[in-house]
Structure formats: C-alpha cells, structure tokens
Subunit: 159 residues, 4 copies
C-alpha cells in the first residue's frame, strides 16, 4: 500500500473568477492516478490545503506525525515548491520509510503542466529508492537537507 | 546525456478524419519533455514509426544496433505495447547500459492518457536503475524476459 | 428548453487499446456543455452511437421521428460528418423548428480538436437562426440540401 | 475578412510560479482559431494586455478608434469580463459594423474552460447578427447597454 498525503501547493491550484485569483482547490491527485492506470494499491488523504509559504511549524509537525503514524512504508507527499526543502528537512528524523515530496511549477489543471510528469517520476522514485526523505522535481531526485529551490530558474538544485 | 529513441506505438497515435482511423504521427515526446521542465540534457531520435505488431525482426535488429551504437549510457525507448516484451528480450545482450522501454495504452494526444505519467515514471527508472533492460509501465518496473502484456486487463505483468 | 440528440460520429470517438482502434464511446456532450457554463436549460438524449457511414435509412427515419416528436423548438444533433448532409436532407420536411447538425473532424477527447469550438458555434446558430435545417461546421452555416463534405480538404462546402 | 482584437482578460491568463500569480500572457486566440479549422479568413491584432478592471477611459477610446478604423465589417474583441459591458457601451456609437465582445470565466490555458465554447459561440454571433454591438457570453447574446455581469452567479444577465 502506498500512502499519498496532499498538502496543497501550486499543483492543486484552480482559477476563481469571482476574485480574479488562483486558490488551492480539491486535489487532482485521485483523477491523475486513475488516468495513470497503475497497478499498486494506494490511498490518498488530505492533510493541508495551503500555499507552502503559509505552512507553519505546527503544520509541519502535523505532516511529520502523519508520516510517522501511517503503517505504509512508502509515502508520497504533494507540496508547494517554495518551502518543500524545509518540510523535507523536518521529516529527516524518519529513517525507516521511503518518503518522496513532489509538486509542480504549473497547476495540474493547466493544459500544459509539469504536474503529471512529476507525479510519474515521483512514483518511480518512491518504488525504487531505499528508505530516506527525498524531493523529486525537474526529473531529478534530491536528498533532504541538500536541496534548494532556485526561484529565478524555476528549478530545484543541489545545495 | 540521455538518449531517447522513438519507434511509434499508441503513445504517438493521432486521429485522421480522412480515413476515420488512428495512425502513428509525429512523436509528441519533444513537446512532452519540454513541458516537464527537466534538468538533464537529452536528445531524441526517431527510429521507427510503427504499430508494434508490425515491427519485424529486421526492425528489432535496427533498434539493438542503435542502442549498442550510441555513446549514451541511459536510453529511453518509446514503443507500442503489444510487442514491447519481445523488443526488450532482443536487447537483453546489452549489459553495460540502462535501457527503459515505455509506451501508453492511450495516445498522448488524448485529453486523458497514461502517456505523461508513464514518461515521468520511465524517466526516473532510467536515472535510478543499474544497467539492464527494463519495461516501465503501469507504475511498475519489469525486467526483460520476465514480463508479458495482459491484453484483457490492459496491464503488464510479471511472467 | 433546447433538445440535444447525440447519434455518434467522430466527435465521440475514443481509443481502445484492446483492439488498437477508435470506437464511439459515451458522448462527451454532457461534460462539454457543463464546462461551457451556459444559461439556457437543455436536455440530452442519445439516439444512436454510430459512425455516420453506418447510419441506415431506418436510423434516419428514427432521427426524423425524434425531431418531429419533441416539444422543443430548437434541436441540436451531434452527427458524424461523412453523411451529415444526407441526414440534414432527410429532416428537410420539418419546417417549424430550428435544427442544427454538428460534429467534429477530431474527437472531443483529443487535446486539440475542433469539437468544442464547433459546439459553441452550433449553439449560437441554434439560438439565432429562424426555423430550418442547418449544418454548422468549420465556422460556417449551411442550409440542408445545399452542402457537401469535401473529404480531401476536410471542410464542408456549399453545394 | 474578420478582424479579431485582443485586449487581455481572464481568457489569456497564465500561471507564473515566480510570483505565484496568474497574469495575462500571449493570447491563445491564434492557436484556438487554428484548431477550430474555420473557413473564413481572419486577422488578429493585440490592442491591450490588461485585466479589464485596469482598462482606462483612454484604453477604451483606443479600442473604439481601432474598431472604427478597420475596414472590416465584422470585429471580434476578446476582453476581460468585469468591465466588458462598459466597453460595449463605449462602442455603441459605431452603427455600421457587427462587433462582438467575448471572454471567459476560466483561462483558455486550463484543461476545463469555457473559453473555446465561448469563442465558437461568438464566431457564429459575429457571422449571423446584423450590425450592432453585442456581448456573447454564457451561450447567450446581449446588446450593448442592456447587460451586466452578475459576479456572484458568474453569469451575464440582461439589465
């Protein structure tokens, strides 16, 4: 069983005309995973619904608790990109599970987005990597504590 | 440098009204990889443009030659699903490279398709797996010689 | 109340991997009309699910009966393009209603398709035109009996 | 010849990760009209690239000048929805041309949007209506001076 936790972020943003702004909406993960036609059993639970800049230390503690508390050995976390490295760092004490954080630079609801590729990439990382805390973005895998987002280049880099 | 070889298959099918049929068209791989916003350098070359049921032994020999001949150590091959296991088997003599075959059950040109997820998944498999010949489909990795397509279930399975 | 009748055609084709062929699937019209966020009330009924080359005289008689029998004054018919002019001709005896036939050269399930534009175009034609039988395709309106499909050019033309 | 003028609005919004906001980007109209496979010749010119709440009286005067100055008899204007009625009103002095304003509640770059339906609908209105200034939205046609946007209902209504 693979456990998916959603926390919000760009990947799940939707456009709302009423206030002319994007906001985080229902996660598209269930729909995207269904289209992917994958064999492994999985379950999805929503933990947060926040822009990652708004994630507090209390929120992070809740994410750590959820990861520590699940019986699953492989956990995928969707997360906003801006503070993804901080959440990965917060999870670093969990040693016996494979945890992969991923997100997107473009909402999954856009016609053209990195979201689905990133999801597929993260899914493989989750299955193939040994226990540890990882970020899977830009077609690359980064270990917690050694990664930063380069905002200008819209890329994650080794730190 | 990652080398991508395209050979046709459902992933690249397009609908043609003139004859009311789907046919293999220009590969969408360049567009899909651009949307994915990946960091690794790659190059794409078209080897074949065939439904995999029409791939001959001569075609397979050409694929093997291309994989053996490239200086790249990591090679992604897009391929129709029906005879993907046979092509993987044909490549089994190549031992020093990581080769991943992938395709899709739905054309990448459809609004809903497994193509982009599969591409992301295969890309991670390509980066994380040791040398060998693999099929990456349905969110799973199979070794050449130990895999078959279950046509009724639309899934790849261990053989 | 606008009455929508679906009869199949390319607009509703889906790809089936099991036999490597497209086939007519559930109509996407309900989903497309919901996305369009339109004000008018409408109802959708499925009459046929056929490639228009397979539509028989008996099928056409059933379409005519359905159009004659509904209490709606404005009727939209989705239809394959190859024999759309014949069905329009068969409906020519109905004089007190506005009937618009439309379809698509690319399935609505493709990422890039003329289906949604054509649907919007046909919807306006349905609201703005006086009673009569019309084909709305390629951003143009044609009267029944004066239209043919140019297969080579993938366009409808005045006949 | 149909003249298309783009002025910005939600229809052309794109998501920018760098500032976590939607902003108006290059118009998708050229791409959308190409997919629509329409017969009529048309040309597209960009007048503004603004959220319609930011359109000034000077901007409106420039739109009126452009519409008055083109030799085309049929003019389509893409426009943000919030002040579309005001721009229609500003154009009301132009009597010999058919002018249709349209936009979208969801960006055309979203997977699910009313943009393409609205474009098809507006295109038919442009071809079928007599000279006048119209708004085509929500599958309905409104005359300039008799229309308002109901922000809460996300609909245009007769005023």
């Amino acid at each position: 069983m693979i456990q998916v936790f959603t926390t919000g972020g760009t990947i799940d943003k939707h456009y709302y005309d009423a206030n002319s702004e994007f906001e985080i909406a229902d996660s598209l993960l269930p729909e995207l995973l269904q289209e992917a036609n994958i064999s492994d059993p999985y379950q999805i639970a929503g933990l947060l619904r926040k822009d990652s800049l708004d994630i507090t230390e209390q929120d992070r503690a809740a994410i750590v608790d959820a990861v520590a508390g699940t019986s699953a050995q492989r956990i995928l976390i969707t997360h906003g990109t801006d503070t993804m490295p901080e959440t990965a760092q917060a999870l670093a004490g969990i040693s016996a599970k494979t945890v992969v954080l991923m997100g997107a630079m473009q909402p999954a609801r856009m016609r053209r987005s990195d979201a689905v590729f990133n999801l597929g990439f993260a899914w493989a990382a989750l299955k193939l990597l040994p226990p540890g805390i990882y970020i899977a973005m830009n077609g690359d895998v980064f270990e917690a504590g050694r990664v930063r987002k380069n905002l200008a280049a819209q890329r994650f880099e080794r730190d």
